[in-house]
Amino acid sequence: MEYFIELVFSGLTRGAIYALLALGYTMVYGIIGLINFAHGEMYMIGAFTALVVSTALSFYGLPLPALLVLTALAAVVWAAAYGYTVERVAYRPLRNAPRLAPLISAIGMSMFLQNYVLLAQTSNFLPFPALIPDFAFMEPYAAFIGSTDLAILVVSALVMLLLMVMIKYTRTGTAMRATAQDRKMAQLVGINVDRVISVTFIIGSALAAVGGLLIASHIGQINFSIGFIAGIKAFTAAVLGGIGSIPGAVLGSFVLGLTEAFATGYVSSDYEDVFAFSLLVLILIFRPAGLLGKAAIEKV
């Protein structure tokens, strides 16, 4: 039973991280119908920026709370800046190109960013400083859930709540929903679609950076390739929930996280990624629109 509860929490933690990434995929897909292959790299760049900033600052002897705030801020700001730039450089010129073109450009961007970080920093795994302290009140539950797990769950819940509020109640959020529904119509009623798309990339990248920061301080080491596999799995989660749907992405992420946790816990940890990919293939065969998505009707 104890093992079971431990697995549940481990699955929820994974799910929360996937959700932070999957939201970016689903928002971008909802608005421009593109799978942003380079999205996983935003997560990696967020984590790497956090690593560089926090380690550099800790050499100068900053106290932990100030360090944590500055690191989080730097990770989010730079990841968002990268997200914006990627959209400007690689996707915007291809807005009216055939479907395959932005996809190939996105794969190129993902390769480019990975190797950029590899060359600029290192290919080795770097130790990530323990930014999240061990909370004293968590002592009795340490068998089931660690302090970082709790931090991941709480922070990601807060961030997702913030996102929901933003999309539902602010002007920008309304513009985003309108653009997702019909880009041409949104343009006709005076929405600056280019700006909305930029904002979507910025928000998505910032969320991914939060995820990267959290998972890096949970695992304790990072390298340049962490974004790739995490990105694919988060995409799997977004498809599982129904791509384009925001609640779907969150639901899909938790389903995927729990599936993976149980599969590695009870079957074998060697095939962790195989389970995730097999799940993706199965969903696409039997329910291509995902759990909460609506099947798209193509009109000619």
Partner: protein, 408 residues
């Protein structure tokens, strides 16, 4: 000519270029300038990188401005001249009849005489390049002609390589016996992958094929009793020639000629395929799926044949790969390999056979001879994919479709 374009750059462009440069300097600051040394606990500041980023992004911005001026000017000219200058006039020097014979002779003699003039090392590199030519042509069927973005192409390559290694290990089968089996198994896996993804559109297809490639690699890595795991399989024999004993050098030369035949065979088959009934169906599918189905083309069969025929080449080249290196392990079949082959197809021009051949040589030979830049290889591949999509989506040599004229 150049000065005319240079004069088009206004002060506004320069100001804009400076803003771009500043933005990229800000962007690359934490990762390019700051470097942590965790052992000695010091921060290394690399300010010179900042200068480079600023200069490079500024000049790249100006170059892209000039390029867009040039393109606009050319379009203007084309517009004025009308559309008379299309296919015949595009590469007049290549179509000159007097050049045909020398070109043909040079084109056939240089590859034939290559091993006589160059060392075994060079011949080995050339074999690799020829292998990628065939891989590129194979993927070209799937991506370029049929328009199905396959990111797991390396899986079929792995299937071929492991077919040879395992059949040889357990049953002692030779290269020639396994070559067709490798191709067939490749095709079988192509159909196996094809079935579930038939209903998917471009972007889903890309992810599922990518996942499929990873699944194959992970299985090869973890199912040790089947594939000997990450340590791989060694002692794979090179191809034989009626039992003649050959030295290492001779067998490499022999493999080179085999590869050359393989390339010719591939070019012939792929060329015939593209202009066949099924080839035209693939083109139609690429251009517009709905219209294609409405014209009475069986979508299922067309897509499956594209997958199967593309995978066949990868399977056969996998056998060649195992025979060439005599040792294989799962690390040779990562996603990067798929990305490289995709890069060959995209750079060459999707659907264009000559383009794919040229770009395979460029992308395989350049990094071999420019060892100093070897570490920038993948960075460049990524950049090539983006730049090609943004500035020249049709590739180095655009695919010119055969036009059919009715005689009056």
């Amino acid at each position: 000519m150049l000065s005319a374009f240079l004069s088009m750059i206004s002060l506004k462009d320069i100001r804009k270029g400076m803003v771009v440069a500043l933005w990229f300097m800000f962007l690359t600051f934490p990762l390019l300038v700051v470097k942590i040394n965790p052992v000695e606990k010091i921060v290394v500041w690399r300010w010179h990188n900042l200068l480079w980023v600023g200069l490079c992004s500024f000049s790249l911005f100006l170059v892209s401005r000039i390029f867009s001026f040039w393109r606009a000017a050319r379009q203007e000219r084309m517009h004025q001249k009308g559309k008379q200058k299309t296919r015949e006039g595009s590469r007049p020097w290549l179509r000159h009849p007097r050049l045909h014979l020398p070109l043909l002779l040079a084109g056939s003699l240089i590859p034939l005489a290559f091993p006589a003039f160059f060392s075994t090392y060079q011949v080995n590199i050339m074999i690799t390049a020829l292998m990628y030519v065939v891989l590129g042509l194979g993927l070209n069927i799937v991506v370029g002609v049929a328009g199905l973005l396959d990111l797991g192409y390396v899986a079929f390559y792995a299937v071929g390589a492991y077919t040879y290694a395992l059949f040889n290990l357990h049953f002692g089968l030779g290269f020639w016996a396994v070559l067709p089996i490798g191709g067939l198994l490749g095709a079988l896996f192509g159909v196996l992958l094809g079935f579930p993804v038939l209903r998917l559109r471009g972007d889903y297809l890309a992810i599922v094929t990518l996942g499929f490639g990873e699944i194959i690699r992970l299985i090869l890595e973890n199912w040790s009793t089947f594939s000997q795991g990450p340590s791989g399989i060694g002692n794979i024999p090179r191809p034989g020639f009626f039992g003649v004993e050959m030295s290492l050098e001779q067998s490499i030369t022999y493999l080179y000629y085999l590869m050359l035949c393989m390339v010719l065979f591939t070019v012939f088959v792929v060329n015939r395929l593209q202009h066949s009934r099924i080839g035209r169906a693939w083109f139609a599918l690429r251009e517009d799926e709905i219209a294609c189905v409405a014209m009475g083309i069986d979508k299922t069969r067309t897509k499956l044949t594209a997958f199967a025929l593309g995978a066949t080449w990868a399977g056969m080249i996998g056998v060649f790969f195992a025979a060439k290196t005599t040792f294989i392990n799962p690390a040779s079949f990562t996603f990067l390999e798929s990305a490289l082959i995709l890069c060959i197809v995209v750079l060459g021009g999707m659907g264009s056979i000559i383009g794919v051949i040229i770009s395979a040589f460029i992308l395989i030979l350049l990094p071999e001879y420019l060892r100093a830049f070897a570490e920038y290889r993948m960075l460049t591949f990524g950049a090539i994919l983006i730049v090609m999509m943004v500035f020249r989506p049709q590739g180095i040599i655009a695919d010119t479709r055969r036009t059919y004229l009715t005689k009056k």
